[in-house]
Each structure stands twice: as structure tokens, then as C-alpha cells.
Amino acid sequence: MKSAQPQKVSTKIFIVGLPNTGKSQVYNNLTGGYNLVGNYPFTTVEPIRGRCRIRNHDCEVVDTPGLHSLLAHSEDEAEVRRLIFREKPDVIVQCIDANRLKQSLVLTADLIDLGLPLVISLNAVDETTRQGIYIDSKELSRMLGVTVVESVATQGIGSRELAEAIFRAGTGKPLKCQPRVTGAIEEVTGGIPDTTPFRRLIARLLMLKDPYLFNDLQKDSDGSAWVSGVQDLSAQVTGRFNGGFAWDVNRSRSGWIDEMTGKVVRRHQVALKGLSQTFADATRHPLFGVFILMGILLGMYYLVVNVANNLAGWMDAALWVPVHARLDTWIGPGIVNEFLIGDYGILSLGIANAFLTVLPILSVFFLAFNVLEDIGYIPNLCVLTRRIFEKVGLSGSAVMPLVLGFGCKTMATLTTKSLRSQRERYIAIYLIAFAIPCAAQMGLNMSILGHIGVQAFAIAFGVLAGTEIAAGMILNQILAKEACVDYIQELPRMRMPDAAAILKKTYFRLKSFLDESVMVFVYAAAGLFVADKIGLLGGLKVVVQPVIVGFLGLPLEMVDALILCMARHEAAAALIIDLVGSGKLNNIQCIVAVTLTTMFVPCMANIAAMIKELGLKSALLMTLYINMSAFLIAGTLNWVLIWGRL
């Protein structure tokens, strides 16, 4: 760090902390980049890297997924630890939510044990101050032996001080255990070769029976004998505590934390229960919570139907119709015309759809969804819905990934890493991929069904919910039972939404949609155009006619939508909106089409995430099952609806 040629030496900075403590916000503040921030755990599921210059030093900043301590409880926490062990960062920045100082100090104790330079960013001090709680950061800094920077990350307050502190970072004072415990740890440390980094910490984690560390060590050391040796030694030494080693260690740490907070925290006034807290309680309440959820869904529905649909209609009329007319006369009939603005034209089906149909709907929906995310509403849904998911064999920890599926199914699939049980992981990944609409799909579904009315929306989502529960129950029966895992979930503090933050987030969400999909829209349109011209599309339609028209009761044009679905769900939705607009889909067909496309082929990114988590074979098999079920369910729905109308 103190190199004479700072340009050549890159300082590696790791940002770590408990879930939902503002790590991504600090990352954004340091690097000037943008990593999605949100008021819920698991916003960041994969480490994000960025480069920046801080005080003329070249820095690599790594934003890591949240963890509670270096003792891993799940695969995702083990992965963060592996990353730290492997890359040995030059500085670690721990983000602490000032509201949760005690909980964070558990991790601080572990980080100090790493022996790496550490800085603490004490976030959300504005919130504690408002509650009349004062944290003496100087005293905290003195007791821990590391710099503590007070900050309000969401407003960028304290960023400059943090950047300064990073280059003065030192190692902290480790907590002292009872001599008996310390002696035992020393003894096990002796069994680890001197050259191994983080020996003392490794010894302690092994003694606490970390479920991942032993395998990791074996892998890293290519099965050296010392690994099993030290494992035996650890079992032998902890055996002397008659099973109470973990308890003794925790006890020392609790004492350390209590002593620290006792000296550092002062309370000036008794906090009153705020309005946001009352609201938070209501969202979890079995009765009010359901009403609030219904209200939110309806509110978003009407927002999409009344605002977004009109906006899209207006943009189409103002921006596309005149352009289309002018192009039409200018080019004249022929193949060029068809290629650009025909049924499968790259401008009409590609560009215009992406910008004029999908974009306005997504803008409105994301704006509303981001408000929900930022106030911290989403995790409360877990409390409300856990009982239902329990019936389908999910113990509760799996509910969070499922609920996150309503945001982005790909991210949600990746968060299943936090589940200990393989069985639950499989069920959760299946259910996420199956009938949960992601935020984009949800917004578009609302828009399509909004042309018919709210009862259509109720039917389609009733069917999807029923499908999800039935699928869960079947999987629950099929898969081998496993021991139940405890359900425990922290719920974030409700916060007032910040307009600037939400606009920024909506902007980045829309930008990433455009970056990822505009070209996909264009290629898909071009592909359909070619397939149509060479007769492939016509042939395919003849083959699948019995299924599409006979069983599903849909017009043949839906084949185009299903093909687009494979490329990008939004593209299919846009085509369905067109079909509805031109009167080619009646009400029943509309409902069937929406349920079908919601379930049909999870998007490519989701399939990639499934492959990553489950392996190629399982993931592809799962996709196959899902597609078959999608057709069966949508077809059945078609006949039930027709029968119901007679």
C-alpha cells in the first residue's frame, strides 16, 4: 500500500457485513459504479468487482453477499469465506448497521481474528440519532483497535472519511476468551502447518464444527495428511469440554459484546413506536397483512392498466403509427418492407415493441416495485406466506428465495445457495422456475389482462398460485424426506422511500433491460422472418396446430409468441398485447395465453442459473417437466373456462 509506484500496486478492498447493512451502497459510493441496492437480504448474491482510484491508488473493490459470521451456516456464507481465504484482501471494510450493532460485532470478532487490516463503516447513524441513541464511535474504535467511520451511506455522508481510513487501516484487538478456551485453540492451531494463513481462525472454526471448512481444507491442500490430523485433534480437544466448547466460546464473545456496547452506547430518550413500525407490524398481521397485500396487488394492477397501458397506447400512436405510415409509403411493398415493418419486421416486432410497448409498462411497474423493495416490504411476505409453503415441504428459509422470484427469477435461483437442505433447494428452484412471474412478466401480465378486467387477472393468478402449490405438494411427496431445518429470518427495518434512490434504481433496471434485450428482440424478429420466408414457420404451425388450436384453443399466431418466449418473455408479451389489440384473442384465450407464457420456458438467464445450481442434466430435465406441465395446465384451463361459460 505504501509503494512508491502506487499505479502498479492494486489495493484489494473487500466490503463485508451482515445481510442488508448497506454494503452495495458503500460499494457504489467508493467506486462510483452502480450495484443494485435494496432493503432486503440477498440483494447481492454474487460478489461484484469494480475498479476505482482512491487517493491516487489503484483499487479493486469487491462487494460480497451478506454473512453473519465466518462460521458458515450455508453455502453462500461458505463462499464468501472461501473468497476471503483465497484472495487475502489488503483491507476489509465491514459495514455495520448502527441499529444492529450487537449483531454485527459477532462478525467483527471473527474479522479481527483474520488478522487483516479492518475498517468499520458505521451506517445509518441518522436513524439511531433520531431514536435518541448515541454511539460513541471514538470509544468503539479505541476498544476494537480499528477505525470506525460514522456514515449515512444512502446520502454519501462519510464516504470521503471512509476512503481516507482505508489507507490507514490496521488490525484490531482480538477478543480474549477464558484461558481454558484459548489454550485449547492454541493446541489445535499447533496442528496446522505454519505456512497456512489464518491458522488460529481455522482452528477455532474446526473446533466449532463448521460444516464446510473441513472439505474446503482438504480440497485446498490436495488431501494433505495434516487436515484429517487436525480434525481428529480438534475432536479430541473439544471432547474435553463435554460438548460445551461452542457454548464457552459464545459466552466469551457475548461478554465481550456486552462490555463493548455497555461503554459505547448511550440512550438519551425512550423511543416511541414510529409510524413505520406500526405499518411494518400491520404488513405481517394475518388479517391486515393480507388486506395490505391485496391492496398492493390491486394498486399495482390499476397503475399498470390505467397509467402504463395508456402511456404505451399514446406512445404507439404518437411515435410509431406516423413513422410506420411514412416508412410504408417511402419503401413501398416488397420484401424490404416486410423485413423492416411487416408482421415479423425487425423495426415493428423488434424495436417498436421493445421501446414503445414493453418499456413504458416496465417503467411504471418497476417504479412501484422498487418502492416496495426499498421500504423493506418484501421479506414480510415470508411471514405471511410461510404456512402455505410449509404445506409443500418448504421449511421457511426457502420462502425468501421464492418471494424474491417475484423480482428476478435468476437472482432468486442463485439465492437458493443459502438453503442447507438439498431437497428444499431443488423444490425452491423448481417452483421459482415454474409458475412465479418475475417483475417484468408480472407487469406485462397485468397490462394484458387489464384489457379484459380485474376478474381475468384474478383467474389467471389463481390458477398460477394453485399450480405452484400443487407442484410443491407433488415434489414434496416424490423427493426423499430430510430432517427439518430451523426457520429463522431477520426482517429489515421499514424505511421511508427515497425518491432519488428509487428513480436511480428504476433507471438502472430499465437500462439493463434495454442493454440485454433490445438486440434479442431484433434477432428474434429476424429469425421469425427468415423461418416464415423459408416455410419453416408455416410447417411448424401445421404440426402443432392440434395442440395450439385444438387443445389450447389459441389462434395459430400464438406459435410466434411461444417462439419469442424462448428468446425473451417480454417479447412474447408484447406480441400478445398486439394480438389483443387487433381483436385476435378473446377473453378466455387471453387468460390461457397469459398462464401459458408465464409458465413456458423460464428465461435463458434463469435456465443458466438453474444449470449452475443443479447441473446440466437436472436443469434441463426440470425445464422439460415445466414445459410439459405448462401445456397441460393451460389446456385444461381452456376447457374448464369454456365449460364454465356454457
Binding site: H68, S69, L71, H73, A98, N99, R100, L101, K102, Q103, S104, V106, L107, T128, Q131, I133, I135, L208, K209, P211, R240, F241, N242, G243, G244, A246, W247, N250, R251, S254, I257, D258, T261, G262, V265, R267, V270, A271, A280, D281, R284, H285, P286, C382, V383, L384, T385, R386, R387, S395, G396, C484, D486, Y487, I488, Q489, E490, L491, R493
Partner: protein, 257 residues
């Protein structure tokens, strides 16, 4: 009946070894930390408390010895729960002394006051006594399961039954531990508690493994303590701490005046 205390150590270790199915002589010798004396062992054998198979290196409690050891272990583990968790004090030797003195009635009344705990702080099972089967005496308990609180009620955690290390670590990192103040916010569809400034949703099993002081018994200064992980979660310094109510009940407060 010489060397009673010393012999009790052997019996207790044998109980522990029975729980872990490691009933071999070498293990017992290791457990005694080099203070193993063959003479004591011979005495235990002649008293009919221990079966020893010197040739096979096997050693185990006899039926009679098991009865004796069960009482010792029960007293010891209850005492641990009482001293370490409930009082929040840390006198290491306390529990070891307790087990030799106490008679059955005192042990059962401690068990009742503590709400018939099932495990010692280290997660080892406490052998149940007669009082546990007559659980109607719950009315006299100073400690009740969290699930018995009313919604909105606050109480101080007395102890947590940790079936496994994983559960212990998980809830300890969230500061749900003896001495913390916990507030029950909601019971259905999921338990929601507030502890040290964080709201936490818990499954039924986990929620019922948390035991708290009945509010009239604990000197919870509720308004000052909870509502923030930055609060004064625990008693500061000595004096009339939160175990005071219990001490008064057990008549242990005389010294304090």
C-alpha cells in the same frame, strides 16, 4: 463412604460416556485428566455401582450406579442452567459443588422454577425427574416458554434449548441469548419477535425452544432495554440484577439485604 465427591466424578463421566457410547476404560482415564486412581474404581465396583471388564477394557454403570449417576447429572445440569444462564453468573465450580449437596426436593423445586428445562446450557439432555411428569406445576415456574407470552409482552430470555450447535450459532449471532430482552410481536402465521433492535421471524420449534422469565418475576426494565441492538441488553455491573426475582424465590437473597 470415603472419597464420595471423587467417586461421583467417575459416575458422572461414565454417564456422559454412556450418552456418547464410548464406554471404554481408556476413555474414562482420559476424561479424569490424569487423576484416575484404580483404588477408587475398585471401591465403586465393590459398591456395585460400576461393572468393570478389565480384560476387555470395558467399563459401564450398573443398574444401581445408573440411578445414582442420573441424580448427579440431573442436579449438575440443572445447576448449570440455573447458575450460568439464569443468573448470568460465571462461577465455574458452582455447578460441581451443587450436585453433591442437594437433595431431591431442592432439585425438583429448582427444576420447576426453571420451567422443567430439557437441556443443560451445553445442549446435553437433563434427565427428567418426577416433577417433570407432573408438569401441572408449571404454575409455579418462574420460567416459561416464549410461546406462552402474550402478544406485545416483553420478557428477558432465561435460556435457550439448543438441540444442536448450528441452532446455537444461528440464534446467538442474532443476539437471542440469555439476558437479552425479547418482545413477542406476532404468533400467527409465523412467530415474530423483536430482540436487540431487530425483528426476527421464527419457526414454531425454534420459538418454543426459547424460555423467558415470567414478567412479574423478572426485573425487566422493559422500556429502556429492548428496541435496539444498541440498548443496554444486559444487566450492567453487580447488584440487583435480573436474576433477583428468582434469587428471592429461592431464598438466596439474604446476603444482599
Amino acid at each position: 463412604m470415603g472419597h464420595r465427591k471423587e467417586k461421583d466424578e467417575y459416575l458422572e463421566n461414565l454417564w456422559y460416556m454412556r450418552e456418547h457410547q464410548t464406554e471404554v476404560l481408556t476413555e474414562l482415564q482420559a476424561k479424569m485428566n490424569g487423576q484416575y486412581v484404580q483404588e477408587r474404581m475398585d471401591e465403586l465396583v465393590s459398591e456395585g455401582l460400576v461393572d468393570l471388564d478389565l480384560a476387555g477394557g470395558k467399563v459401564r454403570l450398573s443398574v444401581e450406579g445408573e440411578k445414582h449417576a442420573r441424580r448427579l447429572v440431573r442436579a449438575h445440569r440443572l445447576a448449570e442452567r440455573l447458575i450460568h444462564d439464569a443468573f448470568g453468573d460465571n462461577f465455574e465450580s458452582g455447578a460441581c459443588e451443587f450436585e453433591h449437596i442437594m437433595n431431591l426436593e431442592i432439585i425438583d423445586s429448582i427444576c420447576t422454577v426453571l420451567g422443567h428445562p430439557k437441556e443443560c446450557p451445553h445442549g446435553l439432555p437433563i434427565p427428567p425427574g418426577d416433577c417433570c411428569t407432573r408438569s401441572a406445576e408449571m404454575a409455579h415456574s418462574a420460567v416459561i416458554p416464549l410461546t406462552k407470552l402474550k402478544i406485545g409482552e416483553e420478557a428477558r430470555i432465561a435460556y435457550v434449548n439448543c438441540a444442536n450447535d448450528e441452532r446455537l450459532h444461528k440464534i446467538d449471532t442474532l443476539q437471542i441469548r440469555p439476558g437479552s430482552v425479547i418482545k413477542l410481536q406476532q404468533t400467527y402465521p409465523t412467530y415474530v419477535v423483536e430482540c436487540e433492535g431487530t425483528h426476527v421471524a421464527l419457526g414454531e420449534e425454534l420459538a418454543s425452544s426459547i424460555s423467558v422469565w415470567r414478567s412479574s418475576d423478572s426485573s425487566v426494565d422493559a422500556s429502556a432495554a429492548s428496541s435496539a441492538g444498541v440498548g443496554y441488553g444486559r444487566r450492567q455491573g453487580k447488584g440487583r440484577g435480573w436474576g433477583h426475582g428468582l434469587r428471592r424465590r429461592l431464598g438466596l437473597c439474604r446476603k444482599e439485604n
